[in-house]
């Protein structure tokens, strides 16, 4: 018998793990996964998608967390006529016990296609494909039996996410996981019920390496840093030199602010603390010998987003250094002021960064009670239109 999915079959070959194998594994058990495979093959033949535009579905009491999805060829693939996504809020740092994961699998086997993403772009577990009727019972069991809840969608606080932080990383300058967990729980109402003009994403990185890409992928980026001097273990520095690391070439000359000096005869590394901008380069090169300082906190940045509508934006600095200790009242206070100001002034589908561009950074600073400081800008204005 010839295969019904000759194009997709091609993608079962090769060394990289195959999503088609995953689809077929689900299709062997589930009728909607089988129709998904068929519709995907059709997309591969026709070079276009076959999903209709949106649709409002959800669970009682929430306005977010479920994305409606309907096939535009339901006559061919009736089992994906309705094939909605459920976003499930991941635990901070994407840690799981197998018990918790198996529970989610059991519930999803009962109510959905059996296909999932670990994880979606914002950080949620994505349960891919269920019917309108199954959404509520699936949610009920996720909450009552698995202890999981929905993530964000639409004009809400999107599911916050964080790097692995102090759970496994010596660079972590803040407790990313506790902060992420705390913010997520504190603002459940903002996460599940659309209050705002558009989405608001928060990401938390433990150090300036920014492994969760917070500076590009969130409206509010919280990035761990320190304000004293990085720590040097002279013995371990000599050890790296002894093992063949060219400290002069690969560490000292690569420092963006010439804050380091290397005495090759004495095998000594020296730092001028005032010149260091805490970029992490030297620490990344010699993690055994160099560590962030001890007076740690975070830099708070705002305004990052993807291209639509007026182009992509990177976050920019609004608080150079903020100490962050549980229960994080200083940060929450600032976040709430930002949301209030945004809510007051934003047009429909206007992200916070776009609003600040429209009304100006000074207007934003005044609105949320922050004082202007030179860390906020790369350079002062060159024009004379000062008003």
């Amino acid at each position: 018998m010839s295969s019904k999915t000759p194009k997709l079959d091609e993608l079962e070959k090769g060394p990289w793990p195959s999503f088609v194998k995953e689809m077929k594994r689900a299709a062997a058990r589930n009728a909607s996964a089988k129709d998904l495979l068929g519709q995907m093959e059709l997309s591969y033949e026709e070079k276009m998608g076959h999903w209709k535009h949106g649709g409002v579905v959800g669970v009682k009491g929430y306005g977010a967390g479920v994305i409606g999805r309907y096939s535009d060829v339901p006559e061919k693939f009736p089992n994906v006529a309705a094939f909605h996504t459920i976003r499930v809020n991941q635990p901070s740092g994407w840690f799981y016990t197998t018990k918790a994961l198996r529970k989610i699998c059991d519930i999803w086997e009962k109510y959905g296609s059996g296909l999932s993403n670990f994880h979606g772009a914002t950080g949620d577990i994505i349960l891919l494909g269920t019917t309108t009727e199954n959404i509520q019972p699936c949610f009920d069991e996720l909450v009552d039996e698995a202890g999981f809840d929905l993530g964000g969608s639409a004009s809400v606080l999107r599911t916050p996410s964080a790097c692995i932080g102090p759970a496994r990383c010596e660079y972590a300058c803040i407790d990313t996981l506790d902060l992420c967990n705390d913010i997520t729980h504190t603002y459940q109402n903002y996460l599940h019920r659309p209050h705002w003009a558009y989405k608001f994403k928060v990401k938390i990185a433990g150090c300036p390496n920014d492994c969760v890409a917070s500076i590009a992928r969130s409206d509010l980026a919280i990035i761990g840093t320190w304000k004293d001097v990085l720590r040097i273990d002279p013995e371990e520095v000599r050890h790296y030199a002894g093992q063949g690391l060219d400290i002069e070439r690969d560490v000292v000359r690569e420092c963006p602010t010439e804050a380091l000096a290397w005495d090759d005869s004495a095998k000594r590394l020296m730092i001028k603390p005032d010149d260091c901008v805490r970029c992490m380069h030297c620490i990344n090169e010699m993690p055994k010998a160099l560590r962030p300082g001890l007076e740690t906190g975070a830099t708070i940045l705002i305004g990052g987003k993807a291209p639509l509508v007026k182009g992509a934006r990177l976050c920019w600095v609004i608080v150079p250094f903020m100490a962050l200790e549980s229960p994080y009242s200083n940060l929450k206070n600032l976040m709430e002021k930002i949301w209030d100001w945004w809510d007051e002034h934003a047009r429909s589908r206007e992200r916070i960064g776009e609003l600040i561009e429209r009304l100006s950074l000074p207007a934003f600073l005044k609105g949320v009670g922050l004082e202007a400081c030179p860390e906020m800008i790369m350079e002062p204005r060159a024009n004379a239109f000062i008003f």
């Binding site: 591969y44 998608g49 999932s116 920014d210 055994k288 182009g311 990177l314």
Partner: protein
């Protein structure tokens, strides 16, 4: 209805293994023992080994259960995922590393992706589950990673290299600061306007306001809108708010490739990726043109860049004219930014390397590599 709502996610403290609970916030240093294997050492002297494996992001629950079986067998019932769809197994006993790696590979999941390996591609849903997409996600990624597989398993790159893919300009993955960013692009305006359904599905003011170039105007006779093709930049934002303006076009949709972005603050600043190739066709199931283009960029970067130099740092050093020369990618007027803020990208200095195109005497472009006897 659920007995309670708004319970939020489970506390991560109920999910982490005991060795992490014990040494939380007290890690001292780490080593990359080999591709896909990390060792973290705590102040207490405890060591934690991490085995990193790639996933295709789309997982059947049968596979999730297989992964759980391995985590039960080797990791006391704990595992985690990374922000780039990798799976991480956390081990205390180093003797378990080799048998675990064997079992993970037997499941079909390669081990690697750490340090100067190429890591997993973050990507969006594509044709699998999205309505605004201009290309597929999983298929393009699979085809590229099959070709670049060696880079995942071996530390062969000059520095961290992040490839990311978004199926349209909505860019759910916010991939615009990646070393190589692959973006689904439309190249034609929405021409099949569904006048019959416009009034039922769309609001005129919202639709007009959605257009960043003011290309949409009212069409009262049809109780619909019209789009001025010359002004349209095919962003698809109007379709996002109005289903009656479908923009997908099988022959003219494709992908653009951007290069040189990064998010880390290490050494140089975070920066956007910049356009290298404006359009390549959708050619499923294996997108040969896209695979070839990405492989070429990665191969050239890998040969030419210095140790520790990210793609963008390398391009900064050699200059964009040299980038286009050494990669053989043609430079076109599409590379010149004509959108908001484009002016800031125009060159306002006489410091540059002269390309063949830029040399109006048309003399052949000679190598400008440094030699001892120029």
């Amino acid at each position: 209805m659920a007995k309670v709502t708004d319970i939020g996610p489970p506390d991560f403290r109920t999910m982490i293994p005991p060795v992490i609970a014990k040494n939380y916030g007290k890690w001292k240093y780490h080593e990359r023992l080999r591709p896909g294997l990390l060792k973290h050492v705590a102040e207490s002297g405890d060591a934690l080994y991490t085995v990193r494996a790639a996933s295709p992001r789309l997982l059947d629950i049968g596979t999730v259960r297989d992964l759980c079986d391995l985590a039960d067998k080797y990791c006391d019932g704990h595992l985690r995922f990374t922000s780039r769809h990798n799976i991480e197994f956390l081990l205390v006993d180093p003797d378990k590393i080799e048998p675990l790696v064997r079992d993970v590979k037997a499941l079909g999941f390669p081990v690697g992706g750490t340090g100067r390996c190429l890591t997993n591609i973050v990507h969006t849903q594509g044709w699998l589950h999205c309505h605004t997409t201009a290309t597929d996600g999983s298929g393009v990624v699979k085809a590229i990673m099959d070709e670049l597989f060696d880079y995942f398993e071996n530390e062969k790159l000059p520095a961290y290299t992040r490839i990311a893919l978004a199926c349209c300009g909505n860019m759910c993955g916010a991939i615009h600061c990646s070393d190589v960013a692959i973006v689904g692009t439309h190249t034609r305006p929405p021409t099949r306007i569904d006048d019959a359904h416009f009034a039922a599905w769309c609001e005129i003011p919202t639709t007009l306001a959605s257009c960043p170039t003011g290309a949409i105007s009212r069409h009262p006779a049809a109780k619909s809108v019209r789009i001025e093709a010359e002004k349209c930049m095919y962003c698809g934002n109007c379709f996002t708010v109005c289903p009656a303006l479908p923009i997908a076009d099988p022959e003219h949709d494709g992908v653009a490739i951007f290069v040189g972005g990064k998010v880390s603050n290490a050494k140089t600043r975070p920066r956007f990726s910049r356009l290298a190739i404006p359009w390549l066709p959708n050619n499923p199931p294996r997108w040969p043109e896209v695979v070839e283009a990405v492989k070429n960029i990665i191969d050239v970067y890998s040969r030419k860049a210095r140790r520790g130099e990210r793609m963008g740092d390398w391009i900064d050093r050699i200059g964009w004219p040299s980038f286009f020369r050494v990669t053989g990618i043609p430079f076109t007027d599409k590379h010149i930014d004509d959108f908001l803020g484009g002016l800031s990208t125009y060159r306002t200095t006489t410091q540059f390397k002269i390309s063949q195109k830029g040399d109006h005497h048309g003399q052949s472009d000679h190598s400008r590599d440094r030699t001892e006897n120029p």
